[in-house]
Symmetry: none
Subunit: 198 residues, 4 copies
Amino acid sequence: MPKLGMEPIRREALVKATITEIGRAGSLDVTVSQIARRAGMSAALAHHYFGGKTQIFLAAMRHTLGVYGAEVRGALAMAQGPRARTEAIVRAGFTSSNFRRDVVAAWLNFYVLAQSDDQARRLLSVYQRRLHSNLVFNLRPLVGSRANEVAVRIAGLIDGLYLREALGRDIPSGDAATGQVLTALEQDLKQTERDPRP
Amino acid sequence: MPKLGMEPIRREALVKATITEIGRAGSLDVTVSQIARRAGMSAALAHHYFGGKTQIFLAAMRHTLGVYGAEVRGALAMAQGPRARTEAIVRAGFTSSNFRRDVVAAWLNFYVLAQSDDQARRLLSVYQRRLHSNLVFNLRPLVGSRANEVAVRIAGLIDGLYLREALGRDIPSGDAATGQVLTALEQDLKQTERDPRP
Amino acid sequence: MPKLGMEPIRREALVKATITEIGRAGSLDVTVSQIARRAGMSAALAHHYFGGKTQIFLAAMRHTLGVYGAEVRGALAMAQGPRARTEAIVRAGFTSSNFRRDVVAAWLNFYVLAQSDDQARRLLSVYQRRLHSNLVFNLRPLVGSRANEVAVRIAGLIDGLYLREALGRDIPSGDAATGQVLTALEQDLKQTERDPRP
Amino acid sequence: MPKLGMEPIRREALVKATITEIGRAGSLDVTVSQIARRAGMSAALAHHYFGGKTQIFLAAMRHTLGVYGAEVRGALAMAQGPRARTEAIVRAGFTSSNFRRDVVAAWLNFYVLAQSDDQARRLLSVYQRRLHSNLVFNLRPLVGSRANEVAVRIAGLIDGLYLREALGRDIPSGDAATGQVLTALEQDLKQTERDPRP
DNA sequence: AATGAATGAGGATTCATTCAT
DNA sequence: GATGAATGAATCCTCATTCAT
């Protein structure tokens, strides 16, 4: 009994299973069989849908980036004014849907993959550029010509806290991380108050 | 052609070759043969000296951490006063011997390895704790009770900039990264001036 | 060419090939590839079905013991009275399906394997205990309290003749071996006649 | 300081170490390094003295057979008359120097080796023939034309009891084994009394 | 006499991928 | 649409053996 319209369901199941398995293994050393099993299908079917292991990883990556992007857009839509919007961007990064142990592990591994796989690198670049311009756009009214520099600092700090979290044994605390970044942000704002450079 | 006392020579060659190969591959998916070939010996000999692939990686890791630690100690020895010492710690992280493309790639992969390998995790913990307490010790006179929080921020930012550099296409610029961290540090110091909390 | 339900077919082919190859080599120094090739498949498939080399050997062992056990049961079913049954047990051990050169070699190697592998040891123990109790049960009416001792002697002699056969160059003669054991048995019976010990 | 006259000492140490290691492993899967280490020298030296792994095994085998042969000859020298001499041969096989766990394991493995190695086979043949003719020679006055057949039975039983002992968990009991064989022998003698066939 | 150094050959095992059904 | 069957290629690791010192 061939089932119709299974494709999107299967794909989604595989993407989720991929994130889960990468999280469990803590690395990309995960077999297609493991992923497929967790997704409730045969390895052959996984291949059928995605064409290969790398494609599966990339799809999982796109999914993760997509979720993250949606979260950012959602937060931006609610916020009023540049400061609130900048803070919203920061907060979105540490939401409970993004700052989960397995997702963090996936991110870390995607960074690794991006070093050898061009598609992955491009994907990450897109994310990084988008984050950067989002930050710069909203920081400009707040810190003027410092916007670029501050954006790099904020983004760097976000990544760094992610990285640290990947290793800690305790459940990731989004609040603490958010607090760290917002404090850094606030000091950049104060610095501008003291020494404005339009 | 001396035939005795080769062990340390071989070990060192293997450690270097490991860093290089990880740098080239951008991942831990490097065969023992590749490493051994680059180090100018057979894979069997590499196994003979290290006992296994993981041990080779860990030795390379220890070496990298060792170099880093030496650099930090050296910098600390030259610096006078807490502020200079704190800056020295930061600068040491972005020295040209640490902030090389392949070394950064190695670090990134060690983070990954630490998620699944206990020895690697322990090694990283040691490094992180040492960095943290170094920072806290020198920050105390500067920012008082904020020392811990500031140390986390500084360390996080350092890691984040490392991470970003791993992906960039251009040669890593230690100066830019150092500048970023020192700016963040300076703002934390000013904040304390404004609002001292002994 | 049916493509489903291959598993039992493959397993059986592998088990047979294992016996054959052990027979040819005269030892367990047989590669999985050799076995797989003889069974008409790739080494990978052999692993797929059995999980590892030891498992393949154990399966072959179980098969051999199974055949032997079936033969004994078959012979017992035909025989009437304790003496006939005891003789049947002896004869079953030297049947042409059990007393083949390669099977004898397999036995010998299983003894060796049993010294280091626990599963193998357990398997052999089961066989030995079964043989022993079969003998004792049927010997009791014939030799009374000597049953245990006689059973040990009979079983020992069977094993010894197997061992000797493993080395001889000529085709194993089940008849000669059977004769030897039956003679020993008969003398034990006569001894009981002369000196009954209920 | 080159030591003189070390050769015999080294060889003996290696032979003993070989028996010990085979006993520990329960198989011939013993590396030359293991043997050499136990014998207190380098693997290279072991090769130097024996030429190769097989040669080391064969030397150990010759040694074992030699000890056994000496024991038999010693026992024969003490015994008076054919019956005592026959019993002496049997007893020699289960002496505490021959019926040790590791020696039994070695024997078993030599049987295995003899299936693939010609030198080993020849060595075993020599032992078997010698044992056989020793038995026949002394049995002739006792059982007349049955001598050959009885010798096969006795020798088979000895081998079988060895084999059984190789697997048992308890310390080998030479007495019990000797008893078994002597009982069989006695019954053969009685049989001849009843039905003499000169 | 003795050994550390060194390697080639080989073997178990894993896995992504393909294919026939 | 879905999967069991099947394999080639790769990789880690072991080990007997050789050689220079």
